[in-house]
């Protein structure tokens, strides 16, 4: 299991190899998701972003998320890497990887990890635009109820 907050860039190959190396059996299916900084939003072009986290709590949330995905979808392994700090346009923000016997579990688990990450892990995005900066609005306040989920009450 791999769960990391880091400022530096990550390598697709290294993360794929790490995910695979930690599987007890050879999985039949590996799914990866990578999120990138786009160079525009609804209001026009942006000039990069920065990401803030809650040191300690954010790392624990990622560990719980990967662990719970492994249990819930019977994965052979799962990994999640999220960057924080200043990120330029087009840079990688987040990587999620899942390894399972069959493709449905690998796909479902990767989608689930991204959904849960977006609603439940303490991370905040600020976009630089028009010479200023603004915090990104959360998509749905309802989804934030899921934050409590990562505290282990459901596992």
């Amino acid at each position: 299991m791999l769960a990391t907050i880091q400022t530096g860039i990550f390598s697709q190959q290294v993360l794929y190899d790490t995910l695979l190396a930690d599987c007890a059996q050879t999985p039949g299916a590996i799914v990866t998701f990578t999120g990138l900084v786009r160079d525009f939003n609804a209001d026009g072009p942006i000039e990069g972003m920065s990401l803030e986290h809650y040191p300690g709590m954010t790392e624990q949330a990622l560990i719980r998320l990967a662990t719970q995905a492994i249990n819930r979808f019977s994965l052979q392994n799962a990994g999640i890497v999220h960057r924080v700090g200043k990120l330029a346009n087009h840079e990688q923000i987040v990587w999620v990887g899942t390894a399972a016997s069959h493709r449905k579990a690998a796909f479902d688990a990767a989608g689930y990890m991204m959904d849960t990450l977006k609603s439940s892990v303490p991370l905040w995005k600020k976009e630089f635009q028009h010479g200023g900066a603004h915090w990104v609005e959360a998509k749905s306040s309802d989804a934030q109820a899921a934050l409590s989920w990562l505290d282990g009450s459901e596992s």
Partner: protein
């Protein structure tokens, strides 16, 4: 003493990330916010929007009772991923 941490918009409004509140007995998160507003009026604005609370890095609500040496964090809805 309770250590109070702030993140993102909340931190920017109150002007710094780390705060401290002296307590003589248990109090709810709601009562803790009253003490913070007394310390600095900017807390009133910071808590006006949707703000989440974690006590010792576990999500809690306003009625949760905090005690000496707890770490209480206030932050907006999350936007990672």
């Amino acid at each position: 003493m309770i250590a109070v941490k702030t993140f993102a918009q909340v931190r920017e409004i109150v002007g710094k990330s780390d705060w401290h509140v002296e307590v003589s007995s248990q109090l709810t998160v709601s009562e803790l916010t009253e003490k913070l507003i007394i310390q600095d009026a900017r807390w009133k604005q910071a808590l006006a929007g949707q703000v989440l609370v974690a006590v010792n890095q576990t999500m809690r609500d306003l009625s949760y009772r905090v005690q000496d040496n707890d770490e209480v964090a206030f932050f907006p809805p999350v936007t990672g991923g």
